[in-house]
């Protein structure tokens, strides 16, 4: 999708107003980010060290590192993406390509997704505990945590994927229909390549939202800071570690802020990946 630029037309008074308004909004958006990350750097930088990323926590997390926590986080995020990406993409394609006309099914699903997005994370956590851990017998584990997280992130992922699919103009779909291409050829070879950059951005943002989740995982993926042996072992994720250190452990603030810095670094790499890929996909699929 080409980035549309409005050329510098004559700068009338109203234009200046719009220009400054948007600059003000951008600043208002970045100021809290700067303050928060600055605060993290100020308080957490001292406890950060390469060792911190590898060792396992000791003295209830006040010393040692966050190795096992990092591993648990990657596992939970892995389980979450393994469920969300295929299912979410299929739902987005289903909603956007097949059920194009606003039938009853499409409307109910859209509303269900929005309500799922609005479910309070603590309620989803309790549900995840009762459903995945107890009812399905996974117990408090990485798997249960990943699945609960998938429920939480699915609506966002489907909505963003749909938006990416919608960047493909309809007359390309009309051309494919007129040529009587099989539906899945049209989707796999034409629609998806054009929408690829948007889809990768969707995955990046969904992952960011998953990394930020605390309440839902506290009851489902567990509190234990030991290296998990299997997907059925409990394991504490970064966000839960930060919560526990800052809320339950006297003197846990230093490592808590350091862990938050590690999370910020992870987020930067996650939101950086789609841009890399966008550069790559731009080469062989061309915005129409």
């Amino acid at each position: 999708m080409t980035e549309a630029r409005i050329h510098r037309s004559t700068t009338s008074k109203s234009d200046v107003a719009v220009q400054t308004a948007s600059w003000l909004a951008l600043v208002a958006l970045l100021v809290p980010l700067g303050l928060i990350v600055g605060d993290l750097l100020m308080r957490g930088a001292t406890s950060l060290s390469p060792q911190f990323l590898v060792d396992s926590p000791s003295k209830a997390g006040r010393e040692g590192g966050i190795g096992p926590v990092l591993l648990s986080t990657l596992l939970v995020m892995g389980v979450c993406l393994l469920v969300v990406v295929p299912l979410g993409l299929a739902a987005a394609i289903g909603l956007n390509e097949y059920l194009r006309r606003g039938g009853f099914a499409v409307r109910t699903v859209r509303i269900a997704l929005d309500v799922l997005a609005g479910t309070p994370s603590i309620a989803l956590g309790m549900f995840g505990y009762a459903f995945f851990c107890i009812a399905l017998g996974m117990g408090v584990s990485i798997l249960a945590g990943g699945l609960t997280l998938a429920c939480m992130v699915m609506p966002l992922y489907v909505r963003l994927s749909e938006q990416a699919l919608r960047t493909v103009p309809d007359d390309v779909r009309a051309a494919a229909d007129a040529l009587a291409l099989r539906r899945y050829t049209a989707i796999l070879r034409i629609v998806l390549p054009v929408a690829a950059p948007g889809l990768f951005a969707a995955t990046g943002l969904a992952l960011a939202r998953a990394l930020a989740e605390t309440a839902a995982l506290l009851f489902t993926s567990g509190y234990v800071s030991r290296t998990p042996g299997s997907l059925l072992d409990p394991g504490r994720v970064l966000a839960v570690h930060i919560f526990d250190l800052s809320m339950n452990v006297p003197g846990g603030d230093g490592p808590a802020y350091a862990t938050a810095l590690v999370l910020v670094a992870l987020l930067l790499s996650v939101s950086g990946v789609p841009r890399l890929v966008r550069g790559f996909t731009r080469r062989w699929s061309h915005p129409v």
Partner: protein, 280 residues
Amino acid sequence: MSQIDNRARALLPWCPMEKTAPCCTPRTYLEVTDLTVKYKNTTALRHVSIEIPRGCVTAIVGPSGCGKSTLLHVINRMTDAVAGCDVRGSVRLAGAEVLGKGVDLRMLRRRVGLIFQRPNPLPLSIAENVLLPLRDHGFTGREERASILERVLHEVGLWDEVAQRLNAPAATLSGGQQQRLCIARCLALLPEVILFDEPCSALDPIAAEIIEQLICRLRNRYTVVIVTHNLAQARRVADFTAVLWNREGASSLVEFGKTRHIFERPTQGLTSLYVGGVTG
């Protein structure tokens, strides 16, 4: 080139006819009877009946908004994808009903090609725009597809301009070239009927001229239906012409006949009014 055509023809149950009798003894190939199309609360077409002769170029003219394009989109059932569109009546292609249930849309749209007003090449390379549909329709041989690609690009007069950059993105072609590429990929599927929906309205006169010559070359090998609001073009290109007009909120057929009769001796007042003042 014809040797490849025979093998391709063997693959397909229907195949374009040989050189047929000249146009003057028309035999109906595409028959539209009592067609009514409604979108939610507006009626686009009411009780339209037309018999499109085989192997000839039929033009459908009329003021914009009189449902010309809707008629085309009904024939190859593109209206199915439009929400709230209700189609009644019958369209028969070589005797077989098109609008009924259980029609294989894939086979229908392969036999009836559609060229849009705005060129819409697939977001792929020039070659892929032709090769992908072929692969998807089961043309398995690589060299066979390559030869079809070369044949159709020659036919639309694009080969000399793009032979060196077949892998360049189709988006880099000019408007006229893109439209010809769309026609080429349609011809590659060996259709029987080709529907043109105001093919030249988005093009400059020179590119439009090339497209018109191309349509004339299609005569006798394909049944062509072209929707246009450019009366001079209709007069130049078409053997038969149908005039649609918007009366009482819906449009219907005013007159249908040989182009010469329609333009010189129209029987209906509305036709003479509309085509009146047409300069050569």
